[in-house]
Amino acid sequence: MLELRDVHAVYGRSHVLHGISLTARAGEVVSLLGRNGAGKSTTLKAIVGLVEVTRGTITLGERSLRGLPTHAISRAGIGWVPEDRRIFGDLTVRENLLVGEAGARRWSLDRLYALFPQLRALAGQPGGSLSGGEQQMLTIARTLMTSPRLLLLDEPSEGLAPVVVKALAENIATLKREGLTILLSEQNLAFARRLADRAYIIEKGEIKFEGPFATLDAQPEIRRAYLSVG
């Protein structure tokens, strides 16, 4: 479904991705693991056209995404959930959701409130007043409003309390069951393992490992070399 082939990207004048290739097949949850600064977020931003891609191809199904404006990439079916959440703090929860309302409308406010019941109670609150966990729910729900075919989740578990992480994992599992394809960037190996079918490991802008978690477990030296302890 989504395929990156030999993607190079630059931030200003520094070269940050050096030939990333990865695929996510329809209905699959694929995890992109790596340390801080390894290039996880940049890879996702390259897909949605927020960093300059200098070489390589990015395709969704038959369609090339490289070079499209960000809104067109969103409309093509890519839903990006940024690491820093980027809630519109002055807008209410409901208004935050309305920004994403467009396209095929496979998701309605009611369906989202069913998936994230907390959000219904908070609908009239300003987004900026929400807790970290609530904001994480909101940012995912907001992106779902665009009815994506593929969800890019950037470190959703970062900075959240364990009990919140658990609830979040259940939400994401529900999305997986509904058949949504997900590319999940994570540092939290346990969290990723619970949801993902297979993993890529990225380090210094290059893919260092690709395969199922069982293979990763069989090679502890890879884990030591490229992932944080824990």
Binding site: P69, S74, R75, W80, P82, E95, G100, A102
Partner: protein
Amino acid sequence: MSPSIIVVQLLSGLAKAMVLFLIASGLSLIFGVTRVVNFAHGSLYMLAAYLTYSLTAALPFGAASFYVSVLAAAVAVGLVGLVIEVGLLRRVYKAPELYQLLLTFALVLVISDVVKLAWGSENKTGPSAPGLAGSVPIAGQLFPTYDLALIVFGPLVALALWWLFYRTRWGVLIRAATQDREMVAALGVDQARLFTAVFALGSALAGLGGALQVPRQPLTIVMDTSIITEAFVVVVIGGMGSVPGALLAAVMIGVIEAFGVLVLPKATLVMTFAVMAIVLIVRPWGLLGRPESQGRGAGGAIASTSAVPVPRAAIVALLAALVALPPLLPTFHVWVLVEILAFALFAASLHLLMGTGGMVSFGHAASFGLGAYGAALLMKLAGVTMPVAFVAAPVVAAACALVIGFFCVRLSSIYFAMLTLAFAQIAYAIVHQWYDVTGGDNGLLGVWPARWLATPLRYYYLALVACVAGIALLGVIGRAPFGLVLRAARDHARRAEAVGVNVRRHQWLAFVIAGFFGGLAGATFVFLKGSAFPDYFSVPRSVEPLVMVLLGGVQAPAGAPLGAAIYKILDTVATKYTEYWQMVLGVILVTLVLAFPRGVIGVLRRG
């Protein structure tokens, strides 16, 4: 003060506030969503006023003609805004944000001459509003009915805007885009269309303000510049991007101005800007604004490539020409050269602030004016000789920059720019209204060089030495460790702090240095002209060096003098051949920006 006067002044302040609100809300909206500081906003206001004037006379609807004209003018100006956004601004959104400002400044020049061409330069008295032409007695005084109608109409517009922003999805998108444009795009919203619509709406609001102003005041061809400064004040006090803030601030300013006339008639101009300065110092983001998100300051917007030095041979050749050629030139050309030298130094001093320091000043004319008036007043009042005045003037400018800079460097990006503008306007107002000392708008005359310097060539060589030395020193400062620290602070203030740099103190010192050399430029200029006028402090005088720096290329120190030379030569040539030189200059500027969105020197270097 009797109660009746208080009531009437309050009402007339409110009426003025409504017009201010209309134009300022449009300006604020445009800035909030597109980040364009639209200098042409006042020009759109003026255009709508003249359109209303002519349409009312031309339309055959009798008493309704005026009201139809008001609507038609607002819509027409909204369409002009749409064309400006699609035809010009859209092409430079990828360039540093300041280049959009340069474009809107060029439009100010063009629209100003279009109005002059179409309607002539005499003041025009607009039609009165049918049905609202008389007065009503209020607290024993007669108060214009039309002003009362405005007081009712303004809140209605505010209400309509509120409905638009809070009750429609489009309004939700606008508010979201004001906070985070990139995220809005990532949610599938086409920014280009949003920007166009917002620019058209904001322009239409300016148009509505201009059209409704017609029955209140005569139309003049300078109404664009007078309203744009006031609109900036309102937008900044209210908070950039906040429409409710614009309403609050418009009421504040309208009322303060109305009462200021009664209490301190001599200080009305100072008061508005003093209020703005105080608000910015106490609440740097304005009353209802919010801080810029990190990393989007004006400084970041002009992140420069590493400076490649201009070939030494070229500099030597240029200097040799500047020394050897003038004796062969006609006097007029020598005068032009002195003017170019003064402005080259003026632009170079601004470059230290905006290029090296990332601090974009909208009020650098303050240093220029202080240098000029400093020199003139030292001679006139203190009786010092011309050479002493020439040397002491930059010190005066630097001393004032020390005080002004203390407040300004506490702010960054657009708020820094606006506070510098406020201080420049305060200086302008003082010079303009303090007749006994400064001569007001009659200026100070007879500020001539000492006898032994008073031939064109001798004064030219003095200017050459002063300005070249100044530009060279500024270059050295920019490359010295001090300049490197400034650049570090520009690119990432927090990281610079983290490695132990006192960012504010460095920026403050840069402000003083820029003030010193701006003052030297002003002193050079004042002895060339023999007179000093308040417009040395004016907004256009502040914008000129900005245009020069951007035109030459902000990334290299050599860009500033280059831009100054290009601008002044264009200016001189255009003025010589046509009455409508502003239009010619504006069109050339637009062409240059579209052709060289990184400044001329960026292209020279690549080529």
